[in-house]
């Protein structure tokens, strides 16, 4: 597979390490009454669709950027690649 790195252009997927569902960016608030349940769901119940999945890849043999890759799990087609940091900021993790 080839991942089109937003900063570096197309790179072979073997340069990357895979983590999975990009929802791992959305770490819950540890200080709520539901934290135990929230963290269980955050850690163990991840998206696993037969189709489009947003997922985290790490450019380990490259610039060490974490990327959010939108990829189809049936065809492996990649339609979008973003820096995970940008995604995290958009998700409101800056504060």
């Amino acid at each position: 597979m080839i991942i089109n790195h937003p900063l570096l252009g197309p790179r072979d997927a073997s340069e990357f390490t895979y983590l999975g569902d990009a929802a791992l960016i959305d770490r819950p608030d540890p200080d709520t009454a539901t934290a135990a349940r929230d963290f269980y769901e955050y850690q163990y119940l991840r998206d696993n669709p037969a189709g489009t999945l947003r997922e985290l890849w790490y450019h380990e043999a490259g610039d060490r950027a974490w990327l959010v890759v939108t990829r189809n799990t049936l065809t492996h087609e990649i339609t979008h690649v973003e820096l995970a940091r940008d995604v995290a900021r958009k998700a409101g993790r800056s504060t």
Partner: protein, 980 residues
């Protein structure tokens, strides 16, 4: 030996004669021959035996789809089993022998199986050999296994080398027949970067085997001219002898170039084969089509071949399969064969055409509306029985029969991404269909375009489309007749009619499979083994489907098709491995003191990809324990030095560095003063301990984090995840400096004295100025910048000193020099391990990915006043059970006993079984300090059980002994020595 069936013409070089050896006989051939063509030229049709019935086998084809003529090529360590004689390029001195027979090829004792074929029907083995149960392993299976396989591996290491490489292009053209050559030429003339691969050693595809014309030239000459034009273009890479094996994601194709298989031995420094990973924007598949046979009784004898193969042998190789050849056909293809044979002066014994309106000939007999119903000839075809349109039968003498049952487009690569081919009624064949791999188009016969002119046109058009070219090139004239075929799959009747000639699957087997309910095409394949042989059913699958469809009363497309999988043809495992084998299997990482350690005679040990000194034997030491005990005692007695460079080092900088570490470590770092170091424990988000190490605060905004050797990479990855994904706006930067700094532990009561001779006088490292857990950026050896940490894994007064890696070798030599008055002793990983067990420090055996801070006795480190990774889930009930495992020390009741790692712990009395398991030993050693064996263990509720006697059992190694539960801190539990 004379080549008795050698005829005129062909693309072989008669100016040179090659000698070769098959089954201990010497023959001759010419450059341009394959082993099969050369053997046929020498009158040899019998080349092998089938898998199950050991029936005599000769070539069915002239290409890579060959199911029958498989031989062992070369010999000794270079032996290549199951090699298709039809693709082996003849070279001088070639040696080959036939396979899968007991006794000579002509008198195979195992052919007795053929007599019992009624008992060996499809799937018979699923129904018997079950009683008595013990007989399966002792009797039945050994017999079956002995019959397994065709060829044999040598058992010796492959002596050849293999390479891998990457190629990039605008357009990859797979197959250099008429469509491929035209596609490549069109793209090349347009200036595109083109790669053209072909599995054959001579490009041209069917053009080399047919007598057709392109423009004013023969097809073969046109192909040669086109290849020459392409070869002269700098933007074209021609890759003959290269099989495109698979279409992988995102335009990546695997291709194997057989660099040296046509040579006696690879040339010096040259690999046998190369695996190319071709990255391409566009690909045109021009893989042609494969002819298929018609099944009839005893249709498997040597001499019965595909019509296209007969034409290849006669036209391309100048080798006649026999002097008298009959033809069996359901299309005009058979008549082409007959005309070619006739033109070569070979007697056409008759053309048997199932079509009533078969074309006539003045030159030979044509039996219209007829079929072949049987054959004779024990080791090779002698005659065929023909049933004429009026039902009468007669025998015709012939040494070969050319069978033409239609063509199957080679759609394989179009299906590698799970596309399904579609049935084309007019061709009675599957053509590419459904969703093709992105960027792939198909041209020529592979796309069902069966005429030469059509192939040229579709190749050019595909190139124009792929490259967005506006104008089609001018095309040369060529025959443009559509294929006229009457689907016909098998001649009904008694006896066995073969579909899969290698695996001996007959029409009867397909019928039985259907009768027994194995009706899905996948069930058929798996039950009968149809299409599972080395040819993957290239000539047999569609015939099997047709018969299944007939039985089920369905159409062929309704029955479906099995899935085509890579590789296109069987591929040497060695080429996928490339150079990664032996010592080069993985890279070897060496520490900065490696050369010095080698000079000291160190014994090395693998730590991941690192090589570390395990111990440093001295003269007179005959057992590793002597060395290790000495190293421990010398360190605890005076001073020792150890290379600890392999520990992961991560520089953490930025105004939020402390806040960041507060997130990744479960214990607090915000209040750590500058100039101090703290032990830190990292949890995974699931609350399990991930890694431990130290973080040294060199400045308000600068920490140096260490990780274990094993987790250096994964911890760094994790920290980057936390930084980029969870806290994207913390002001913190990370960089791995593991390889930038050489780091040595100097440990022992005299460590300070040694280091005072290393660090520059301006650096005060007295106990007051530089106490336990201090850290600083220093200079040493007269101005060299370095770092000094007063941390201790050994439990001694100890420091770790770091310098830029390039000074590591010099530093270890200097340390040894200035340490000489104190008998400074280098120690390896074993002594390191002994000292850490004596101190009760956890390492990889304890941090095994299932243990919590609580298990490790570090439960109180998990801060409950701040949020850090893993805190919330570490509170789960299952991780905090009252009887949770706790790390303890173990001491043998009998001091002579060992306390081996991996042993399990049981109550002192009572049953010994899994239900009574109390825990297990993680790390063990002999403690030279204490004079007996010691161990660390995880024990249920262990912290409350100090002083208890337990039984330690290791049934695997035959150990049972009694141990006392003690504190894991065996030595200097108060830590006085490290603060000295």
């Amino acid at each position: 030996m004379s080549q008795i069936n050698r005829i005129d013409g062909g693309q072989i070089d008669r100016t040179q004669t090659l000698k070769f050896n098959f089954n201990a006989k010497t023959y001759t051939g010419h450059p341009g021959d394959t082993l099969a063509s050369a053997l046929l030229a020498n009158g040899v049709r019998l080349m092998g035996r089938s898998f199950k019935y050991h029936r005599p086998r000769g070539p069915l084809t002239a290409g890579s789809e060959e199911p029958n003529a498989l031989v062992e090529l070369r010999g000794g360590a270079r032996a290549e089993p199951n090699t298709r004689a039809t693709t082996i390029e003849l070279y001088n001195g070639l040696w080959a022998r036939s396979q899968n027979h007991l006794g000579p090829l002509g008198l195979d004792v195992m052919a007795v199986n053929d007599l019992f074929s009624d008992f060996l029907s499809a799937g018979f083995y699923y129904k018997t050999f079950m009683w008595p149960a013990a007989f399966w392993e002792k009797l039945y299976e050994p017999v079956i296994r002995r019959a397994a396989g065709l060829g044999a591996l040598s058992g010796k290491a492959d002596p050849d080398t293999y390479d891998k490489g990457y190629l990039h292009c605008d357009l990859l053209v797979i197959g250099a027949g008429p469509s491929g050559l035209m596609a490549a030429r069109t793209a090349a003339r347009a200036g595109a970067q083109v790669i053209l691969t072909d599995e054959d050693f001579r490009m041209g595809g069917r053009l080399n085997s047919e007598t057709l014309e392109i423009g004013e030239q023969t097809g073969a000459d046109w192909a040669a001219d086109t290849v020459a034009e392409l070869a002269a273009q700098p933007n074209v890479r021609l890759m003959p002898r290269t099989t495109s094996i698979g279409a992988f994601d995102h335009g990546i194709y695997g291709a194997v170039e057989r660099v040296s298989d046509h040579l006696h031995r690879p040339e010096d420094g040259k690999p046998r084969q190369i695996l190319w990973r071709i990255y391409t924007r566009q690909t045109i598949l021009c893989a042609g089509a494969t002819e298929r046979p018609i099944a009839f009784r005893n249709n498997d004898r040597p001499g019965i071949m595909l019509g296209s193969a007969v034409r290849s042998y006669v036209n391309r190789f100048g080798a006649a399969p026999a002097r008298q050849i009959a033809v069996f056909t359901n299309s005009d293809d058979g008549h082409k064969t007959a005309q070619d044979l006739h033109a070569k002066g070979i007697r056409v014994a008759g053309v048997i055409d199932i079509r009533k309106d078969a074309p006539r000939s003045d030159a030979y007999d044509v039996f219209a509306g007829s079929k072949v119903t049987d054959s004779k000839g024990r080791l090779g075809l002698r005659r065929i029985e023909v049933e004429r349109a009026d039902g009468t039968r007669h025998w015709i003498d012939c040494g070969a029969l050319a069978v033409s049952g239609g063509w199957n487009p080679n759609v394989h690569l179009t299906c590698h991404q799970r596309g399904r081919p579609q049935w084309n009624e007019s061709l009675a064949a599957f053509v590419p269909g459904g969703v093709l791999p992105p960027g792939l188009s198909v041209a020529g016969a592979a796309n069902g375009v069966m005429s030469t002119a059509g192939a040229l046109r579709s190749g050019a058009a595909a190139a124009c489309t792929a490259l967005s070219l506006k104008a089609m090139p001018d095309l040369p004239e060529a025959e443009d007749a559509p294929l006229s075929i009457t689907p016909f799959w098998h001649v009904a009747g008694k006896g066995r009619a073969w579909l899969d000639q290698q695996n001996d699957v007959t029409v009867k087997d397909v019928k039985l499979s259907h009768q027994e309910g194995y009706r899905s095409v996948e069930h058929l394949k798996r039950y009968t083994t149809l299409g599972m042989a080395t040819d993957q059913g290239k000539t047999s699958n569609v015939g099997g489907l047709a018969i299944l469809a007939e039985l089920a009363g369905k159409s062929i497309p309704d029955v479906g098709t099995t899935i085509f999988r890579p590789p296109y043809t069987p591929t040497a495992i060695g080429v996928f491995a490339g150079r990664s084998r032996g010592k080069a299997f993985k890279p070897t990482r060496k520490t900065p003191s490696h050369i010095w350690a080698e000079e000291q005679g160190a014994v090395f040990v693998e730590a991941g990809n690192w090589l570390r000194a395990q111990w440093f034997p001295r003269a007179g030491e005959t057992h590793w324990r002597q060395s290790v005990d000495r190293e421990v005692q010398a360190t605890r007695g005076s001073v020792g030095v150890c290379d600890v460079t392999t520990l992961g080092k991560i520089d953490v900088q930025g105004s939020d560095a402390a806040a960041f570490l507060n997130k990744v470590y479960c214990n607090g770092f915000a209040k750590l003063p500058v100039g101090r170091t703290r032990y830190g424990l990292m949890l995974r988000e699931d609350g399990i301990a991930m890694d431990d190490g130290t973080a040294a605060r060199l400045a308000e905004d600068h920490f140096v984090v260490t990780t274990t050797t094993a987790n250096a990479v994964s911890v760094y990855r994790h920290m980057e995840f936390v930084r980029q994904c969870l806290f994207p706006d913390m002001d913190v930067q990370l960089i791995s400096t593991t390889e930038s700094w050489a780091q040595f532990a100097v440990a022992g009561p005299n460590a300070r004295k040694v280091l005072q001779k290393i660090v520059d006088p301006s650096c005060d490292i007295s106990n007051d100025a530089f106490p336990f857990m201090a850290c600083a950026e220093i200079t040493l050896c007269g101005g060299l910048r370095g770092r000094l940490f007063r941390i201790s894994f050994s439990g001694e007064l100890a420091y770790e000193i770091a310098v830029p890696t390039r000074y590591g070798d010099a530093l270890i030599r200097r340390i040894m020099e200035v340490g000489a008055p104190y008998d400074i002793t280098p120690y390896g990983t074993e002594a390191l391990g002994v000292m850490r067990i004596e101190k009760g420090h956890a390492a990889g055996n304890e941090l095994n990915g299932t243990t919590t801070a609580l298990n490790l006795g570090l439960g109180r480190m998990v801060s409950q006043t701040k949020d850090s990774i893993g805190t919330v889930l570490s509170r789960r009930e299952g991780l905090n059970a009252p009887d949770a495992l706790r790390q303890v020390g173990l001491r043998p009741l009998d001091p002579k006993d060992k306390v081996p790692a991996g042993a399990h712990l049981m109550a002192a009395t009572g049953p010994v079984d899994a239900a009574h398991d109390q825990g297990y030993v993680t790390s063990a050693c002999y403690s030279p300090t204490l004079g007996h064996h010691i161990a660390l263990a995880f024990l249920k509720n262990g912290a409350e059980r100090l002083g208890e006697t337990l039984r330690l059992v290791s049934p695997l190694t035959g150990v049972e002994t009694h141990v006392e539960v003690v504190s894991p801190h065996f030595f200097d539990p108060q830590g006085d020595r490290l603060r000295a």
